[in-house]
Amino acid sequence: MNATDIGYLVHLAFIAGAALFVMGLHQMNSPATARTGNRVSATGMIIAVVAQLISVTQAGVGPVNWLIIVGGFVVGGGLGLRLARSVAMTAMPQLVSLFNAVGGGAAAVLALNDFIALDGHRVLSGGAPGLDGWRTFFILADVIVGSVTFTGSLVASAKLMGLIRGQPISIPGGRILSWLTVVVGISVSIVLVMAGSGTVSYDVSVLYTLLVVALICALVFGLLMVLPIGGADMPVVISLLNAFTGTAVSMAGFVVGNVILIVAGALVGASGAILTRLMANAMNRSIGNILVGGFGAGEGTQAAAAGTDGTIREVSVDDAAIQLAYASKVIIVPGYGLAVAQAQHGVRELADLLEARGIEVSYAIHPVAGRMPGHMNVLLAEANVPYPQLREMDEINPEFERTDVALVVGANDVTNPASRTDPASPIYGMPILDVDKARSVIVLKRSMGRGYAGIDNPLYLNPKTGMFFADAKKGLAELIGAIKAL
């Protein structure tokens, strides 16, 4: 078999890999087939990587180059393996963010290297490989999007890990600096593309300097973009950075002329874009508004006790237990507070106990109940909650009317009826779980502290709402004990 034939086969293998990615994603449409889907996608990856190894071997690879290939993969892969095995499910958002960072970073490095390999030279005569306008355009698009993703995702990850404060961090003059990086970055890019297309001509060292300036602008912009965003806006930020990574990988595909990179990047970009839109809709905020930042107070902020006008009704453990035990339909509304208190197992135990008494139990999951899209579902699945019980907002909302008890654990803003009724409320228009339509409501909460939006929740003043003040984990344990004692 000659080199050309092998080249064709490698290309076919790339097409097969891309097809397997699409098929794998398609199987993600149901929890029953999703695991197989992930394996189908992994098979596509293995086929593509093996094909590429065959392709480069054919062209000849020196011993040092093999060392780089194997050494780099072992170092990175080993780290990935360790992280994937040890990460707690509550820490998934930061891990996904970290993978966004390395994916975007790798894509940016590919483009940087392409520029260096061509030594900044444009095509002077036909046939010689070199820079042209389009190639320079894609190199810059890749370097810029990849670098923004790299630093932005690292900041997001550090915020989620608590390495830096989750609260919005505003740097004096940060807004101006952001705009400066945008203006300088774009101007420099235009000059470089013009140089690539031969419209203007500069010395190679000037071109390198300009490229480095564009790179620094992008890295700084990534930092400044995510620093002012509050912890609770993370679902949107992570989704957006995911879309960026996909775009960067696609651009890398244009640069190195590889179709599977283009397809894979486009798929990721589409996924990130869909999730970004869903998350922003679930918070009823525009993406621009979130990026401007400063709204979310971040995690761990407990505002002073709300100055409430009405009276709240406190329920005792025993009353709450009786209410739950003699209901026929119960909906549990978990919020991020549940995950913070590590009470997932407690909630599942309570649900099991109620089900054993013949009570219908389901979970109402708001799209932004966690720190990334779908996060709460994973946390509950880990606690052995069967997935048919995990219900999406639109699906479960009509059922609240037929529900005897809605048990709210660690959720606040997503149950706030002011979003339906009070145009003056900052969360007016945000889609919520219609908890107040249930026949009775029990809110398990540590104190009257406000949610992340920092506003009062009229649900707590509703006469049919009973407040059960306790730490989520302890409160659930007490409830379980009380129901068992009945």
């Binding site: 994603l25 780099g72 994937a84 589409a270 699945a381």
Partner: protein, 104 residues
């Protein structure tokens, strides 16, 4: 980059985005976290580009860049697929038999 290649690539790019929208909008909200970490592993495909780069690196700078790209992409691919698999195995129709409710 000649115009024909560019147009071919653009065609693939646009169709792949539309296909992505079509396939991914069918994924239920329950699976959005595994979806994101799954697409995360898919963008680990930069590994293919990194291998190409590492194979042709012929100076220390290109070599170091290639090593970084290999390590980044390697972590992305290996970690991404494994953690997605770990998450998806937790999604069960019925809980593992710690409580026996099948008899109900």
């Amino acid at each position: 980059m000649n115009v024909a290649t560019l147009l071919d690539s653009l065609t693939v790019f646009v169709l792949a985005i539309l296909l992505g929208f079509e396939v991914i909008s069918k994924v239920p909200a329950t699976l959005h976290t595994p979806l994101m970490s799954g697409t995360n592993s898919i963008h680990g495909i930069v590994l293919v580009g990194a291998i190409g780069l590492a194979a042709t690196a012929n100076n220390p700078l290109a070599g170091s860049l290639a090593f970084v790209a290999m390590a980044f992409a390697g972590a992305n691919v290996v970690g991404g697929y494994l953690v997605t698999d770990r998450m998806l195995q937790m999604f069960r129709r019925r809980p593992t038999p710690t409580t026996d409710k099948a008899a109900k």
